[in-house]
């Protein structure tokens, strides 16, 4: 059974239609990449799954149950956790508190506790008492990932976790993802860096202007197919 799926998901911001009938699915333990240019609807898809954008109930199905109209806090308590775009750490809270608040609505025991998050990102142990926003961008991203892990989610949604970070920092963060996967969590990775997304994903979706333009196994999709799905045109072969 699918862990989570969306069925003919549509979403709008006022007059602006952001998603047009998106069918998406992810199985337990799977890593799925969502690629697409700015404004393609990637973040809107995640916001619909997490309940920040309320939908009609049966547009989002989690373990056979319609959750499209649930509030974000209830969806999170079902084991769906999000690393939001822009990290969105709580500025009034220290690094330690930002991590602990991720466990506020914890569902039973699991691999992820403060110690294992500090094992994953050792730098955070040194900075644990600093205000979260005093950290560098990369360290803040580590806090955001750790915070989402603290509830021991079965589905982790990562929105643009490499955005605005230096390549060396991105490498460190992506090095942590396989370890997170080993803990059994399924992951949705929204990413503009196509090569990086494909390197860790089992399957990939490409969105363009609110529609799925490509779906396939990460090892099967060709560069040409991605180019066509991403830009809506055939790639011009350089002579």
């Amino acid at each position: 059974m699918n862990l989570l799926e969306t069925r003919a998901l549509t979403a709008s911001y006022g007059q602006f239609r952001a998603l047009f009938g998106v069918d998406f699915r992810i199985e337990p333990g799977e890593v799925v990449a969502i690629i697409g240019s700015n404004g393609a609807g990637k973040t809107t898809l995640l916001r619909s799954i997490t309940g920040i954008l309320r939908q009609t109930p049966d547009m989002v199905i989690h373990r056979g149950e319609a959750i499209g109209a649930m509030a974000p806090d209830r969806i999170m308590q079902r084991g769906i956790s999000m690393v939001p775009e822009g990290r969105m750490l709580f500025p009034s809270l220290s690094v330690d508190e930002n991590l602990r608040i991720g466990a506020q609505a914890r569902r039973g025991a699991g691999r992820w506790v403060l110690e294992t998050v500090f094992d994953l990102f050792p730098i955070l142990l040194e900075r644990r008492n600093s205000p979260a926003t005093a950290l560098s961008g990369g360290q803040q991203q580590m806090v955001a990932i750790g915070r989402a892990l603290m509830s021991n989610p079965e589905l982790l949604l990562c929105d643009e976790i490499s955005l605005g970070l230096a390549p060396v920092v991105i490498r460190d963060i992506y090095a942590a993802l396989p370890l997170i996967r080993e803990s059994g969590a399924a992951m949705v990775v929204v990413e503009q860096d196509i090569a990086r997304a494909l390197s860790i994903a089992d399957r990939v979706y490409c969105l363009m202007e609110g529609r799925v333009t490509l779906e396939g196994r990460a090892t099967d999709v060709t560069r040409e197919a991605i180019h066509a799905a991403y830009f809506g045109t055939q790639e011009k072969v350089q002579p």
Partner: protein, 287 residues
């Protein structure tokens, strides 16, 4: 020597203002809600304590202990049913709603309790005094200040040393992201208003024992509370504890110069702080 005594009296008066202000400060700090009915809620709470006193024959302290959970529940429901619906990016709807609540409370109290001024029977406590060397101070004002310090200390511990306080601060920073942590912001806001009503009960207890009250005095208490909050710095509870006594000292010093100047000097001190430090004396680092 008279000036030292005047300052001490002002500090003690400030304890009452800090108690008026603490609930306002808490609610503003957590949800950016300016509750214009705060003064009337204090007066209404004093009437509730008085009713408990009259029905049960208990002293005001025990009666306040009985009233506190009732008022916590009232605050919780008020936030859940009314105020949560108007909270948003626009600050005008909550201002209008709390202003309406203020008018409704005043008229409701007038209907129920008449315009007569009332007092909580403190059993002679209001006439007792202590000699602390520099001055002779009333026992009740001293208890008021001590209660203000303890209440604000406990509120700070709650905010900075408990999981609930962490959820309060996170929700205050960003309710949407807090909901992604499994926190229900509406419930957090309701708990905050409930908690503020417990502090309001304490303020009402001392207000009612120290002076007469009637349904019309709420708005003036709101002004003192406001001034204490703004002088101390919006959203800072320790700032509020400092702001109350600053207004109090200004008032007693003014009254010492000329009895007609008491209220005026409090307002002047408030204006001076606004001109010199528009964000208050101890502003939160970030807003």
């Amino acid at each position: 020597m008279i000036w030292v005594e005047t300052v001490i009296q002002g500090l003690l008066l400030g304890g009452l203002y800090a108690l008026f202000a603490a609930g306002l400060s808490l609610v503003f700090g957590i949800m950016r809600l300016v509750n214009l009915a705060h003064g009337d809620l204090i007066v209404a709470s004093a009437f509730l304590i008085l009713m408990v006193v009259e029905f049960s024959g208990l002293n005001p302290f025990m009666s306040a202990l009985i009233a506190a959970p009732v008022l916590f529940g009232f605050g919780y429901v008020l936030q859940r049913v009314v105020l949560n619906r108007v909270l948003g990016n626009d600050i005008l709807p909550p201002l209008l709603v709390t202003f309406g609540l203020s008018v409704a409370l005043q008229n409701g109290m007038l209907e129920l309790f008449s315009a007569d001024s009332r007092r909580l029977p403190a059993g002679g406590l209001e006439n007792q005094s202590l000699n602390i060397g520099l001055a002779t101070v009333g026992t009740l004002p001293l208890m008021t200040l001590a209660s203000a310090v303890i209440a604000i200390f406990l509120l700070n511990r709650l905010l900075y040393a408990t999981a609930l306080g962490r959820a309060f601060r996170a929700t205050s920073d960003d309710p949407v992201t807090a909901s992604l942590m499994g926190i229900d912001p509406k419930r957090i806001f309701a708990l905050a208003t409930g908690l503020a009503m417990v502090v309001v009960t304490l303020a009402a207890l001392y207000l009612g024992m120290r002076s007469n009250f009637d349904p019309s005095i709420g708005p003036a208490r709101l002004i003192y509370a406001f001034q204490a909050v703004i002088v101390g710095g919006l959203g800072s509870l320790w700032g509020t504890l400092a702001g109350g006594p600053i207004i109090g000292v200004a008032q007693t010093l003014g009254a010492q110069i000329n009895p007609e100047w008491q209220i005026l000097s409090g307002h002047l001190a408030f204006l001076i702080v606004l001109i010199l430090r528009p964000r208050g004396l101890f502003p939160r680092a970030r807003d």
